[in-house]
Symmetry: C2
Subunit: 280 residues, 2 copies
Amino acid sequence: MTTAIRSEFDQGIALTPRPGGPGLYDGELGAGWQIGGGINGGLLLAMAGHALSLEHAEHPDPVSISGYYLSASRPGPATVSTEVIRSGRSLTTSTASLVQTGEDGLPVERLRVLAGFGDLAAAAGEVHTTALPPQMPPPERCIGMEHAPRQLIEQAALLERLDLRLDPATVGWALGEPSKKGRIQGWFRLADGRDPDPLLLLLVADALPPVTFDLGMPGWAPTIELTVHLRARPVPGWLRVTHSTRNLADGHFEEDAEIWDESGRLVAQSRQLARAPRPV
Amino acid sequence: MTTAIRSEFDQGIALTPRPGGPGLYDGELGAGWQIGGGINGGLLLAMAGHALSLEHAEHPDPVSISGYYLSASRPGPATVSTEVIRSGRSLTTSTASLVQTGEDGLPVERLRVLAGFGDLAAAAGEVHTTALPPQMPPPERCIGMEHAPRQLIEQAALLERLDLRLDPATVGWALGEPSKKGRIQGWFRLADGRDPDPLLLLLVADALPPVTFDLGMPGWAPTIELTVHLRARPVPGWLRVTHSTRNLADGHFEEDAEIWDESGRLVAQSRQLARAPRPV
């Protein structure tokens, strides 16, 4: 990244410290990050996470971050206020609140965040894992969003920011033939080529189409809660992302995501609780 | 439950509203809930959840609750302060903070909670799930804690409150032969027979021995963050609980729990990020 050419993602989460307001940051939610009528929840989490990384520079990386979504965000100005709860040796725990001004001129909170931040670069690199990276064809043999249903694209300006290539085995839903297995997976990178870092992983955890598409349920699925655990700094290049669900009940479902980097390392795990789309 | 004979769990999370202090509750962390030198993290989450259920009686049940653990709790008085962030039609989002007085007489925060509460009794009961209950022998053919290593029992007064019967297939670690698969599962009920309810599930999500025992790593594993999603009210009787992990790296691991009730329903899912035990 140079200062001359700044990536769309960095613009999307850009913040200006408010003079005289400790812990307060001003940002702008761009219309280009909309999905289904609101701003993508992963982008909101990344903006709040960005504020926290600015607030405690010695612990710049989210290690665990939980967001509770309170109301649908709109394109326009947003303010993030932060508060440090506890500063430890390896982790700083803090909270952030993302607020917009409602149509009545009163502040409306969109997202409340609770998080533990550390320094992922200080990690020792030891890995004992039984998890295996997802198997899928290479990006050039996966399905780009230029093949997505027009209805999906029109409601998801977000997708224009992404170079998303879905595994052909998990896109039956786009042809009216969902697998009903509750799994969508694919390759991810930003369309403008910006390399992944911990803040980008917060977007990636919520950037694929809702896994309910693969259950034969079109429509958007509002997130109630999303927690992301970051397990390593990603290396440059493509990410592999899986979304899966096993339990849809009483109008709620969980969506588990795993994000793997090009070195084959599991760099983030996330789970969200979301409302199932209403029957069309 | 009668008022004459109150269960140990209800005593363990009992709270008294502080007169004149809106949203403030006083409790007592019992020595009987200790594990590895601190109070069990699930009990702390249940106490904080109890305060929130008292605070908004129309939404008494945790639907999603996230706890960030800040310092090790000690037996003795604790105060829970609560704050409602947003009251919606189906969910109330709020925050809670559990604080004790440190040795220097100053307040020390132990746990910060962010949660969405609703009414699980109002759920419609529809279930579309591909998740299957864990297979294990009946309780009478599983391993009670009377067979646990003495070192484990001595450090875990908590276990005396529980009737925990582990699947023989997942207790090799107790005989020095961990499976290395990262899985521990078993039957759970309270020793005094109190039936499960949503608050009890918060304890259950963190009540089994750490799954790292099955990786051949003895020692306690401090929780950094624990999120529990409650998917249904449990019916009376035994619970089946699974703990599993797939990715231990850089001194951190995730512990995923599923809790199934006696009707065969998945009533809660949880994930925690914990620090791996230090090599002995």
